[in-house]
Structure formats: structure tokens, C-alpha cells
């Protein structure tokens, strides 16, 4: 799509002797505020001829009719500003109740204010009053949204977000995923798909460029991810990308996730349950286009060349992640004694190396897995009993491994596979199993509750079988566990055994031994989460510079900066892992070249801050209270009992007030002054 600035002349001033060019356009719409004589007009036409400044053209828009005629407008071309942008500026709105599918224009100024992805998705839901609805009701909305860099020729430019209200936390959910689906949606011509209402029978959505339809999914219902993908690719073509829920989402379990490519996941916060509540089984997406036209092609190429060089030269993105995947962290985090073990009762696991990235590579790795346009290839494709499947990341390895006391990597591989097949959060599901194991250890769960597979520490069988029970919902305890560790433990009167924040399970780093990640866990808008402010990078990996993990000084400021920059990356369509090598100046340059913005470092971080704050406003509307920014009792009051971080405890009581101060928040929420500064009032 090309956008050209023209000024519209008075029709009575047609000059016969002027060389005029007639351009028929599909659509003629006014995109910017205009004066009487000067209009910016969007000419939606695939390949406009080269237009010179001051040349006169006739524009005949097919969609404009006047007194039975389709008139021509005489215009003068003013080609001073480039107006291509990597946004499509088009969204789909699908109402499953009404069975309607509409295209909507995405306002460019709004898009740029929140970038896209996580930021824009939250803003849309906030404006449409979704914060107050019941997450599993037809009133909730699911936004599948990519970013301005999705589909562009930039490293890792292929990500999308699923934004909705979470049934797990009751707050904002924004789950990020890679693979190719987001790029396909972008190439098909849409920045987002907004799904509303509820179908009266299982359906799936098919998108191929302008051909968008709701099709019956009765024969897909109940099927696992690989099977669903096979069936839909058979029907819609090998190049189609399939996004789906599994049996877990169909049953609206709070730990249900959304899968794409059968082994990439929008994992957290129960987004799969929302999709299941709408009886939407899958979205299959294909396109004719394979490129996105940026604002400044040459500039983007220049910035990308530099970014690629940095990514290749960086030790993490150029060597560590490609060679060992995220699983390389197992031995690091264990050796600093902050590797939560047996539901966080300890923090050092003697058998950790048996489940490490090194061992995974040695015994099971077949090859690297890559997302769209990714030069890193951190994914693990493994051999699982003769079958080639997507392998586990650091998080499920930890959660099924040390956190359940299990040293059997083969069993971990299998349990992770079932999370993908059944559509379960590969952090939430195993950490809930760990909580169940503690309940069993302490007598709240009995052998007779366990259907022949006792939930004992170290049981390889239990982690596989109970994942299946949770995903299929085929027994009572499995269904209860699939609602998450908080609801499980609360059921037995001991919610403190749930290692979660805002009811979302914490990931693989002990906040008692790493102070900054504790602030992230406590203050993340989507609950227990590490990626939204990955303080592990400086505190454990020494990037961009080493920080003492036990110290509290400066951590609040660092956390805010990480959170704000992450919000930018999450909204742009690039992968967070590029941030080991790239910094704010790089992301600003990429966005500027792609969309025509003019961010400097301060400017782009301000947008990130705005995004972080709109999420917090959503949560406030949803009923969040100040006390929700906290950590479990065990982390605040029980020191790590043994290992290299013996005796350490979380000092959130010191860091949280400092964090609110740097954020310009009081009692967990932004002040009016902060909102004004961020243009959120």
C-alpha cells in the first residue's frame, strides 16, 4: 500500500494542456487533518506509478459516488514526505455471537502512541471497558496483535501478543509468542484480530488476505495441537500457520495457553481458557505477500546490518543461546544457590546437571529451532523416544525438574511435550504439580486422591501423568490443578503453598537470592513473571553490566528501566532475547526507520513507561489493590535453608517503596502527575 500526499484542486480549474495522469484507486480516504486546500490522501493502490512533485493527476476513487457518477478529482502531487509505514493500519473485528467479520482502520497516531502489540492491545481493551468484565464471559475480548516490526526484514521480526483479561489473575494478560503466525497475520494485511462474543458451536477462523471466514470446528474439538495443525494445513495449504488451543483451553482451565506451530506458546495467564470460552478452536492464517514495506527502506537496512552484527558478536545471542538454548541457565542459577527446589522449600538441586542445557545437547538435541527471521535459533528440536518434537525451555526444565525434585530429563521432555499438545502453560502446570507435591508431602493430599500416581517428590511418572490429567481434565484432582496452584492450595486451606504473585506462578529464579528479580515478580502487571523486567541479566549474567544480586541499592531504578524497555520490545514485534545484544538506541532506530517516528532514547523509553502505566490502569479498573504487589510469605519470611545462598531472604520491604518512588506511583498506582506526564489523562 502506498500513501501519497496530494492536494486537491478545485474541479473547475482543469487545464486541458496539462499532462494529467489518471490513477484509479481502490480507496480514497482522508488520513490526516486537512485544511481547505491541502489534503493528505491515502491512495490504496498496489503499485502506483512514480509520481513527480507538482504533477497533476486525476484520482478516481472507486468508493466515492456522487449523483450516480464515480467522479474524478484533479490533484497536484506533493511528494515531500514519504508515507509508507510498516503498520498495515488495518484490523479485523470478529464477533462470534453475531457471526460478523469487519475490517477496521487502525488510527496511526494511536498506533504510534502505544507502538503495537502489548501496548496497543492493552489500550484497546482498556478503552473498550474490558477491565471490568468476567474473563470467561462473552464480554471479554481477545486481541491477537502484532507490532510494527513484525514481518519486517529485521532480526526476530515475527512476534505477536495475545492480549485479554486473564481468568487466572483477573488482571491484564498479554502473552507473547514467536514462530511464524504473527508474521503471517501481518502479511495477510492485518495488524490485529479482535475477537468478541461467543460462538454457538465450535468454530475456527480462516484468514487468507482479504478472504476471512468462520468455519465449523466440530471435528477439531478435543484434538491436540499437532493433529489440529496437520488437519488445517492439509485443508489450507502447507504455508498456512496454525494457532490453536488444546483440550485444556476447551475446558476453560486457568492454566490453558494458546499454541502456534504446535510448539510455540502464548503461554501464560490463561489466554487459552478465554479462547475456549468463546468456542474458538483455532485461527489459520496465510497470505500472498511476504514482505512489509517500511517507512525508510535504506535506513532500515543500515540499522538492521548494525543490529545483526551486534547480535552475532554478542556471547549470549551469538553463542550461548544458539548452542545450548535457554536451558544453559540451569547450572548457572543452581550454582548461585537460587534454583528453587521442591516448591521453593530449598534453592539448590544436587542433580541439576542431569537436567541441564549441556545434558540436553549431549543426549537429545537434534537441531536448533528458529522463529521467523531469527538469527539466534534458541529453540531446541529434540529426539523424544524416536519422535522429533519441540524441546523444553529453561523454565519447564526447572519447573518439572528441580522444583518437583525430578532429575529425569527424558520425563521432563515428555511432560513439556504434553504441555504443547494439550495447550498448558509450561511454567504454571509444573509449578502447580510442585504445589500438589508439597500438599501430598504434608498430608493435605492423600494417596487415594492420586488415581494410582502418587504426587511424590522426584517422581518422573507423576510429572508426565499429572500433566496429562491437567490437560485432558480427566480426573477431579487434575481439573482442580488445572485451575492453578493458588486455587488448588486455597481449596485445602493453605494458599501460602502457592508460589505465585497475583495468582500467577513465579518462574525459575529465587527472589531471596536475587533481589532485583523479586521487584519484577512483585510488580509485574500480569503477576509472577520474569520476562517483563529481566533483572537476571545484570544480576546473574552481568549484562549490560554486573550488579551484586544480594544488594538492594539501585535495583528499583534498574527494574523500572528494564520494565519500560521490555514494554517497547514487547510492543514492537521483536523478540526480547535481542536485548542481550541491543539497547534502547537500537530499538528506537529500528522503529523510526520502519514507521517514521522520531524517537530518541528518552522518547522511546517514555512510550515504554506509558505502556507499563496503561497496564496498571487496566488492573486498577479490574479491581487490583495495593497489597497485590507482594511476594509469597516463604520468600519474605523463610530464608533459603542451604546451599550457596543459605540464609538469604527477599528485601522487598526496602525495594518496593523505592520502586514506587521512581515510578511516580503512590500505593501501587500512578499519580495524576505521572499520568499527565505520560499523556494518559
Amino acid at each position: 500500500m502506498r500513501r501519497i500526499k496530494i492536494s486537491k484542486n478545485d474541479e473547475s480549474t482543469i487545464h486541458k494542456h496539462l499532462k494529467a495522469l489518471i490513477i484509479e484507486v481502490d480507496k480514497f480516504r482522508v488520513a490526516f487533518p486537512q485544511t481547505e486546500t491541502d489534503r493528505w490522501v491515502v491512495l490504496e493502490t498496489e503499485r502506483p506509478p512514480a509520481l513527480e512533485r507538482d504533477c497533476m493527476i486525476f484520482v478516481r476513487p472507486k468508493n466515492v459516488h456522487h449523483k450516480g457518477r464515480n467522479p474524478c478529482f484533479l490533484c497536484t502531487v506533493q511528494k515531500e514526505e514519504r508515507m509508507t509505514t510498516s503498520y498495515n493500519l488495518k484490523m479485523l473485528r470478529v464477533n462470534l455471537t453475531e457471526k460478523s467479520i469487519k475490517t477496521e482502520i487502525l488510527d496511526e497516531a494511536l498506533a504510534k502512541k502505544f507502538i503495537g502489540g502489548r501496548g496497543l492491545g492493552t489500550k484497546i481493551l482498556y478503552d473498550e471497558g474490558v477491565a471490568k468484565v468476567d474473563a470467561l464471559s462473552p464480554a471479554n475480548k481477545l486481541v491477537f496483535i502484532n507490532g510494527p516490526l513484525t514481518g519486517c526484514n529485521v532480526p526476530t521480526g515475527g512476534r505477536y501478543m495475545v492480549v485479554t483479561k486473564s481468568p487466572l489473575t483477573g488482571m491484564i494478560a498479554s502473552s507473547n509468542s514467536g514462530g511464524v503466525w504473527g508474521a503471517r497475520l501481518k502479511y495477510a494485511g492485518y495488524d490485529a484480530v479482535i475477537v468478541e462474543g461467543k460462538a454457538d458451536a465450535p468454530v475456527y477462523l480462516s484468514i487468507h488476505d482479504e478472504k476471512v471466514e468462520l468455519l465449523p470446528a466440530g471435528d477439531l474439538w478435543g484434538k491436540e495441537s499437532t493433529n489440529v495443525e496437520e488437519i488445517l494445513k492439509e485443508k489450507h495449504g502447507k504455508e498456512a500457520s496454525v494457532l490453536n488451543i488444546g483440550p485444556a483451553g476447551e475446558q476453560m482451565f486457568e492454566l490453558a495457553c494458546i499454541m502456534n506451530e504446535a510448539d510455540r506458546a502464548a503461554g501464560r495467564s490463561g489466554v487459552g481458557a478465554v479462547m475456549g470460552s468463546k468456542l474458538l478452536k483455532a485461527i489459520v492464517c496465510s497470505s500472498t505477500r511476504t514482505v512489509i514495506e517500511p517507512f525508510d527502506k535504506e535506513k532500515l537496512r543500515e540499522v538492521v546490518t548494525e543490529s545483526l552484527r551486534k547480535i552475532r558478536e554478542n556471547g549470549v545471542t551469538g553463542q550461548g543461546l544458539p548452542t545450548y538454548g535457554t536451558a544453559v541457565l540451569v547450572n548457572i542459577v543452581n550454582n548461585i544457590g537460587s534454583f528453587p527446589t521442591r516448591n521453593w522449600q530449598e534453592s539448590y538441586f544436587a542433580d541439576a546437571d542431569k537436567t541441564s542445557g549441556e545434558t540436553l545437547k549431549e543426549k537429545y538435541l537434534v537441531k536448533q529451532g528458529y522463529c521467523h527471521r531469527c538469527p539466534i535459533g534458541c529453540g531446541r528440536v529434540i529426539n523424544m523416544n524416536g519422535k522429533t518434537v519441540g524441546g523444553p525451555e529453561y523454565e519447564p526444565i526447572w519447573a518439572y525438574g528441580a522444583n518437583c525434585g525430578v532429575e529425569d530429563l527424558e520425563a521432563i521432555n515428555e511432560a513439556n511435550y504434553w504441555c504443547n499438545e494439550l495447550g498448558l502453560d509450561a511454567i504454571g502446570a509444573p509449578t502447580t504439580i510442585a504445589a500438589a507435591m508439597e500438599l501430598y508431602q504434608k498430608g493435605y493430599l492423600k494417596e487415594e486422591d492420586c488415581d494410582g500416581v502418587p504426587l511424590v517428590w522426584g517422581s518422573a511418572k507423576a510429572i508426565v501423568e499429572w500433566t496429562k490429567h491437567m490437560g485432558y481434565g480427566d480426573n477431579k484432582l487434575g481439573r482442580l490443578m488445572a485451575s492453578g496452584s493458588y486455587r488448588l492450595c486455597d481449596h485445602y486451606g493453605v494458599p501460602e503453598f502457592s508460589m505465585s504473585v497475583k495468582k500467577q506462578e513465579m518462574p525459575a529464579y529465587d527472589a531471596r537470592g536475587i533481589q532485583g528479580i523479586g521487584i519484577t515478580y512483585a510488580t509485574s502487571n500480569r503477576g509472577g513473571c520474569h520476562v517483563r523486567g529481566y533483572m537476571i541479566s545484570p544480576e546473574v549474567l552481568g549484562l549490560p553490566e554486573p550488579l551484586n544480586r544480594l544488594a538492594t541499592e539501585g535495583k528499583a531504578t534498574w527494574t523500572k528501566i528494564f520494565q519500560d524497555l521490555t514494554a517497547v520490545i514487547d510492543s514492537s514485534g521483536m523478540c526480547l532475547f535481542t536485548s542481550f545484544a541491543l539497547g534502547a538506541p537500537d530499538y528506537a532506530a529500528l522503529l523510526n526507520a520502519a514507521t517514521g517516528t522520531n524517537y530518541d532514547v528518552e522518547g522511546v523509553l517514555k512510550v515504554g513507561e506509558r505502556i507499563y502505566n496503561i497496564e496498571r490502569l487496566f488492573n486498577k479498573e479490574a479491581g487490583m489493590v495495593a497489597g497485590d504487589d507482594t511476594l509469597p510469605k516463604r520468600i519474605l519470611e523463610e530464608p533459603i535453608p542451604s546451599g550457596p545462598s543459605k540464609g538469604e531472604i527477599s528485601k522487598l520491604n526496602i525495594t518496593l517503596p523505592q520502586y514506587y518512588e521512581v515510578r511516580g506511583w503512590v500505593d501501587a498506582f500512578p499519580t495524576e502527575a505521572t499520568l499527565k506526564r505520560l499523556d494518559l489523562l
Binding site: 548452542t323 545450548y324 547450572n331 529481566y534 554486573p546 550457596p644
Partner: protein, 73 residues
């Protein structure tokens, strides 16, 4: 004895766990030199679980862990 744990690519041709006599190794740097590991190949050096530098001293009973540049997730 000083216990030295090697990880990721540092294990190549060296093994996973080694034990050294403390008398010959006053600091972490002397261990790196003995193992023929350039300091630039070590992104994370832990002594008893705490981030340290090659010039930091080591003593009998210490556990040293060495990692090349690695990732996250």
C-alpha cells in the same frame, strides 16, 4: 581441595568437575591458567556461588564454577 566445576563449552576437552590442591592455587586466575582458559572465555566466575573476579583469592574447600557467555529465559 578446591572443587572446580566447568560448564557449557568450557567442558570441552577438560571434563565437568576437577579437584585441585589449594597450596598451588592462591587465586582464581591461577586456576584459569592451569586449565588453559583465557579470562575472556569466562563470562561468569563464581566462588562459592558468589560472582567473583579472576584476581579474587581461593582457599581450601572453595567451589569454583566457570561459565562462558550464556543466555537467559
Amino acid at each position: 581441595m578446591i572443587e572446580i566445576r566447568l560448564f557449557a563449552t568450557l567442558r570441552e576437552n577438560r571434563g565437568k568437575i576437577l579437584f585441585f590442591e589449594p597450596e598451588n592455587f592462591p587465586d582464581a586466575n591461577s586456576i584459569l591458567m592451569k586449565l588453559d582458559i583465557p579470562a575472556s572465555d569466562v563470562a561468569i566466575l563464581l566462588i562459592n556461588g558468589m560472582h567473583s573476579k579472576p584476581q579474587d583469592s581461593v582457599k581450601d574447600g572453595d567451589v569454583i564454577a566457570l561459565f562462558p557467555p550464556v543466555g537467559g529465559g
